[in-house]
Symmetry: C2
Subunit: 505 residues, 2 copies
């Protein structure tokens, strides 16, 4: 059927066309069916949206991106015909039915997501099926490989290539620049790519970009890493396993992150950067992604198993995550706390310990004995700070960076304890909500500074934490939320009292 | 945040707004997040689509339907703020996790779908979870009740109200007008609502509308049913359990129809029409929705159990569906075959038998003994045809209707057998594909006339079936598909030969 192209002023994440109801009947297509459009340069498929008012008969409206990809222009006549669903939809159906998928089926799904051939509702059905029915480690390995093949790979002239990854979920986890600096100072190469926050308070890239550029292309990343041994890039600025970013757009509103998708997503980014040795940090605790040690062990087994299938040496560290790492949450606050540790400050000790423990495992993978002690020596000697300065400067930041350069937002409110006792628990999720309400991560100065953590003694009227914001109204809103949520629970030493019960016969 | 409204020329099945990337950052919203828009008349929520080219800063683009519902106009300034996900998303997550939902949770989901508060990806996740994790009969009963409550109910002055429903899947199932006419002629009331084809070759309403009007409002349906005892309406023309139609838009492209959704969908339409007695016909066989007798029994148990919970007396009939009912597939062809039976023709006997058996069960539910024999007597006496004429005339059709009035499309091609033997099997799905390629159901004259059915003797060169079309190119295309698919399998009497195997020790 010949139809005339006109412009549709939306750019959906899936390729759509708008057709008149009567033309749809003639074409034999329904809403969400597909049509193939034969343009002068090439053909493309798109999902059908119907209307009898917004489009005329004989007209096909489409976004400019689609017009361009056809090599056509507004007003051109193009041939439009019904197009069957892609084969990958059958693979999705199979996973819905709980069946194991073949390498080829997984590959089809991944490539069709990348090429925009699957509708959002189909991707949603895929993720929901993965969430419910899962994948075995052979499937996850195929899945990972397919995701790698959708994007670019960075090949280094140096080998081995070390890498590490923290599964998200614990706020204030600012260890990455410290670990990278220690490992690079020891002479190993660790080209670290990180992410920005999706639903958390602050991703590594969100705080690193407060003191240097994180949007590096693959060549820049390669040369900085080969020269300094380290790099702190935003993974999203390269075309590494790009299908992951398309999936996240659907995962995020569903609030799910299927285990198979999560593992394949992480492993594919690491393969794309040619990692030969990988440490996976699995923060475990209530209020994080992984709740129990048993669950964490399950993840660890999967990562190691899949690493073996893909030729990557994987080790895992299960870390404590019942409360934030360190005291600071939010871009500039985290950056300041991180740099203070590099400058030699001993507190918060949780940041020092976690950084040295993780760096230590990587050093040992690289053949350096007594890893953790050696890592601490490198940190305390100032060698890590020197390496950090080199990396920052290579990424366009100031070589003479100091922690005091990073100033939090000028609007600060304090939250007080309404009773005396001990901090019995710290709710990670509540702290994330408060930090986000304050403006984190887009307002760089926004966030939370914890003055009390678990187990500490608190008197009535003590400041529990401070909220920083760049906009006064956000500080107030965050405080209101804090007062409502009470993220720090204060109890007496006696948590629960049992009355003695006498038993009579 | 104050933004200026402008027009977006798409009317998606979910309410969307287009916002500039920078405004999204300021609002703290991501793609697929929600915003609340406060209009002069009322507020509404919509899903966020982002762009940095198609919309300016300070502008919010939205479809006219949304502008109207806010009581606003293009150019107006409205307040736009972040809005949390509706509670029902938590219920969807619970079903993903395989948990049982409460009455309230199910109700929230159903009402939020009706009110357009859930995104398509959320509805897709809901249906996928239902497909995989299912519902028990208590949940399905709540689900049904909630769906009824989203729409109108038809209340009759007569009681009892009989009804029946055939689960889709078997082509050529043209029994509805015959069953309704027999039952109404016996003095019972059966206000039948039917559907149009979604993915099948021809729904009941698709062929009934070739000889009378099926788009009746609730009042017309009520008065025709109370006066004549029968009616043959398109269910979609009334506001009965309207949420079902919104769900179908997502189900259809996924190619799934979760059991719980299917049962609730059928039962809700029947409750909305105040049925007191319901017969469910479950066509069973390869190539239909229900493949085996065991599966059919499972459905039957569910329908009766849920009927009991909802106060509807339900009986079920498991019918043979390994091949089409009768010989005709497609609107006018089915209408012609259906009316011929009412006129007294004895063939195809499968149509006569199925109609009388189903009508017979309904008569017995109404206290009339020997139902099937009585149904056949009513059919053969001409009383059913007389009643059919009354109903057709009441629906604006011709009282003097004759089967010859219905002429199939003038382009006819024949498909021949390439070998001699017996018809071993008839593939329903292939016939549907061929009939749809010929133009059915939108081209009323398009379809298939089977000249041979299962078990019949065929000589090489015999005509197996005829394809009718209104457009010559569609007839040719359908024939090409028929030659490729070979929907009738011809075999010798010996289907498989085993060679004897001698066992040595």
């Amino acid at each position: 059927m010949k139809l005339r192209i006109s412009h549709l002023d939306i750019d959906a994440s899936e390729p759509i066309v708008l057709l008149h109801d009567d033309d749809c009947i003639e074409l034999g297509v329904k809403e969400n069916d597909r049509v193939r459009i034969d343009g002068p340069a090439r053909s493309a498929t798109a999902l059908v949206n119907r209307s009898d008012t917004l489009v005329e008969r004989g007209e096909v409206k489409m976004p400019d991106s689609l017009i361009d990809s056809l090599g056509a222009a507004c007003g051109d006549e193009v041939n439009v015909v019904y197009s069957a669903k892609p084969d990958s939809v059958r693979g999705i159906r199979k996973k819905m039915d709980g069946e194991k998928l073949s390498k080829e089926e997984i590959r089809n799904i991944v490539f069709d997501i990348r090429d925009g051939k699957l509708a959002k509702i189909e991707i949603s059905a895929w993720l929901t099926s993965l969430y419910i029915n899962g994948m075995d480690s052979e499937e996850i390995a195929y899945f990972t490989q397919a995701m790698v093949d959708t994007g670019d790979r960075v090949i280094f002239d140096r080998s081995p290539v070390f890498d590490f990854h923290s599964i998200g979920g614990v706020p204030g986890n600012k260890v990455t620049p410290i670990v990278v600096s220690i490992v690079a100072a020891a002479g190993l190469m660790l080209p670290k790519t990180s992410s920005r926050a999706i639903s958390s308070a602050c991703g590594t890239s969100d705080f690193v970009e407060t003191f240097c550029d994180v949007e590096l292309d693959a060549n820049t990343l390669k040369s900085i890493a080969e020269e300094t041994g380290g790099v702190l890039a935003w993974g999203g600025s390269m075309n590494l396993a790009p299908v992951d970013d398309m999936v996240i757009k659907v995962e995020y509103p569903l609030g799910i992150n299927p285990r198979a998708q999560m593992i394949a997503s992480i492993m594919s980014k690491k393969m794309a950067i040619s990692a030969t040795h990988l440490l996976v940090d699995i923060p475990t605790g209530t209020g994080t992604k992984v709740k129990t040690i048993d669950e964490a062990k399950g993840y660890a087994r999967d990562f190691m198993d899949i690493g073996e299938r893909l030729g990557i040496h994987v080790e895992c560290a299960i870390t404590y995550a019942d409360q934030p790492v360190g005291n600071a949450i939010g871009p500039k606050l985290e950056a300041r706390e991180c740099i203070r540790i590099l400058e030699g400050q001993k507190h918060p000790s949780s940041v020092v310990e976690k950084s040295c423990d993780l760096a230590g495992i990587i050093l040992e993978m690289g053949g350096i004995p007594n890893g953790s002690a050696e890592a601490r020596r490198i940190l305390e000697s100032g060698a890590a700070m020197k390496k950090f300065r080199e990396i920052v400067a290579a990424q366009g930041g100031n070589y003479d960076i100091k922690s005091e350069d990073l100033e939090p937002g000028k609007h600060m409110v304090e939250v007080f304890s309404t009773k005396a006792g001990y901090v019995h628990s710290v709710n990670n999720k509540d702290l994330v909500s408060i930090a986000r309400a304050a403006g984190s991560p887009s307002d760089k100065g926004a966030g939370i500074l914890l003055l009390r953590k678990k187990g500490q003694r608190v008197e009535r009227g003590d400041v529990l934490f401070q909220i920083y914001a760049e906009v006064e109204s956000k500080a107030q809103r965050a405080r209101d939320i804090a007062v409502r949520l009470q993220p720090l629970q204060i109890e007496g030493m006696l948590i629960k009292k049992f009355t003695s019960v006498s038993v009579r016969e």
